[in-house]
Symmetry: C2
Subunit: 337 residues, 2 copies
């Protein structure tokens, strides 16, 4: 049930950018602006690695091991299990995009990762996707039992909001307005018209014919909305104006959907060996995918269009500041696995 | 696993106050102030009934039935299942205690009830207490399936925070500071040192010897903290000063624990017929209770002490405004079932 984008984003493989090896282009940029704005001196891999260190330290500090030990062990087990921290880094990069110091975005960056981890723990439960392994380790309920896994998810979700609020109260009056906006955004992204909506429609779709609208609904809610809220809250914490927030939101929406479309394309165009998983399995299992519903060429065109739309939003910002987000979008469009 | 106080608070029986029938006194007031401050003209039953109507309307409006229908049906099924709305009414009464219009507290009142409902849905799951009935109806997972029940709880928890934040953003700058304080309080009350902590220690205690400290830890976290946050957030939304907030907090802590102590006393002193459930079952099942751990007379003394402490906090406020909270504490101390 967990979407392919979520799986890929949590895979143990580090990001590989197009600098390392010139890949066949899956999605063609339509703006053609990239070479001007992405100077070769910007080292995307280093950027990701350095931000991940900061995020991991903040997450570790957010849940000290205290009484009752079992629940905190369970929360830390899943939250600190690694992963590339795409969502928190999106918060930090969006904060920097609008001129803020990236560390300002850490409270919301951590909150988004806590919410993401909660959704993984609950999606893995036997009554949902019944997954025994994640990132090569036993899933939370296998390691700690189902009751603790449900409670660890609940506690992580509550902590996400509390973490944002606690930080704002320590920061003084100016922060409570930003925190309240972040809480509203985060709540909407998780709830019955966000993550939960995507999961329930996905569950209902099992074994049924799924059209393009339903496919997009599932992906937007299960994947894009949390990426969107990560970027939007980062921008809010960087002091973005309303128009800047909406441009960041549109960028993140496009990137979230782009990831899924490219994932579907790769599934039918690459061999299993290149992909590192069973290629064509979505097609074989009769699962709805973009190439299946709109044809491979139109799916490629759609991916190119999404990348172009993401790039257009970034052109509005300072080129140096937008480099990380531009590289992220291009990486997603051009990745080979 | 669900505590007795939670069961009693959710029973379909309406509150009966000491006005209706003079009961044998379980806990003796030590302040002796009651007859002065609780004028007979204050109709406690009417107060509860009228506030419950307002709360139910607000909860109904907070979750309109929209797409995806199944998740919203599931959330509404449990949230609108009735109950006396003790927690939201505690918010409203605490708001009025400090001079605020009670309707100001509705956003936090609804949020607390959403959190409470989430905890009931998740506690009832097969991997937790495995309860098939609640308030005489099938539990959420029996009616909608386990996956939907887990997701409905998650969505209610997210909505609780979002509801508070959305209201504050509509209300303007002055509200974001109160909302942020409410989010911090609510998060702490639910999380790994609140509701979740109580439930996990309760689960761990099954079949083990439990001392007085562990018993109090479970009750404080599973029951008192959410009552405390209901009262505290109501006071904050009423514009309470810091000292007033702390007095309301202490009142609610005492009342929460009082409820549990009286519940334990009634279990050993009343017959099954009077109690409406199997009397002495806590003793028979070897479950830790206050009378068992400290003896019946000391348990009665402890209940009287808690009532007196609750009353002392209320003396600090206007007598007319404190009448509902005073009646609530006395009802809890003197109830016969």
């Amino acid at each position: 049930m967990a979407s392919s984008i979520a799986n890929l984003m949590n895979s143990p493989f580090p990001f590989k950018t197009h600098r390392q090896k010139r890949p066949r282009i899956v999605a063609q940029s339509q703006s053609g602006l990239l070479e001007e704005t992405c100077k070769p001196e910007f080292r995307f891999d280093d950027y990701l690695a350095s931000k991940a260190v900061v995020v991991n330290e903040a997450l570790d500090a957010a849940i000290p091991l205290r009484h009752p030990a079992r629940i905190h062990e369970s929360m830390r087990y899943s939250l600190l299990a690694g992963g590339k921290r795409v969502r928190p880094i999106l918060s930090i990069a969006s904060c920097e995009l609008v001129g803020g110091d990236g560390t300002l975005a850490l409270p919301v960056a951590c909150a988004v990762e806590m919410v993401h981890t909660m959704s993984l723990i609950h999606d893995d439960l036997p009554c949902m996707d019944d997954d025994a392994l994640r990132r090569g380790r036993p899933t939370n309920h296998v390691a700690f039992g189902e009751a603790t896994a449900v409670l660890a998810g609940d506690a992580l979700l509550a902590l996400a909001f509390q973490h944002v609020a606690d930080h704002a109260l320590r920061g003084g009056r100016g922060w409570t307005e930003r925190a309240t906006r972040a809480v509203a955004e985060l709540g909407a992204a998780v709830g019955s018209e966000g993550l939960v909506a995507g999961q329930i429609v996905d569950l209902e779709s099992e074994g049924r014919e799924v059209g393009l609208d339903a496919l997009e609904y599932i992906h937007v809610n299960k994947t894009s909305k949390l990426l969107e809220v990560a970027a939007v809250c980062g921008a809010i914490y960087g002091g973005a104006r309303a128009e800047e927030v909406e441009r960041v939101r549109e960028y993140a929406r496009c990137v979230g959907l782009l990831f899924q479309v490219v994932d579907d394309i790769l599934d039918v165009t690459r061999t299993s060996e290149e992909l590192g998983k069973t290629a064509g399995k979505d097609l074989a299992s009769d699962k709805a995918t973009y190439p299946k519903l709109m044809g491979l060429e139109r799916a490629r065109g759609f991916a190119g269009e999404l990348l172009a739309r993401a790039e257009v939003e970034l052109r509005w910002f300072d080129a140096r500041r937008s480099a990380p987000l531009l590289h992220l979008a291009r990486y997603i469009a051009h990745r080979q696995n």
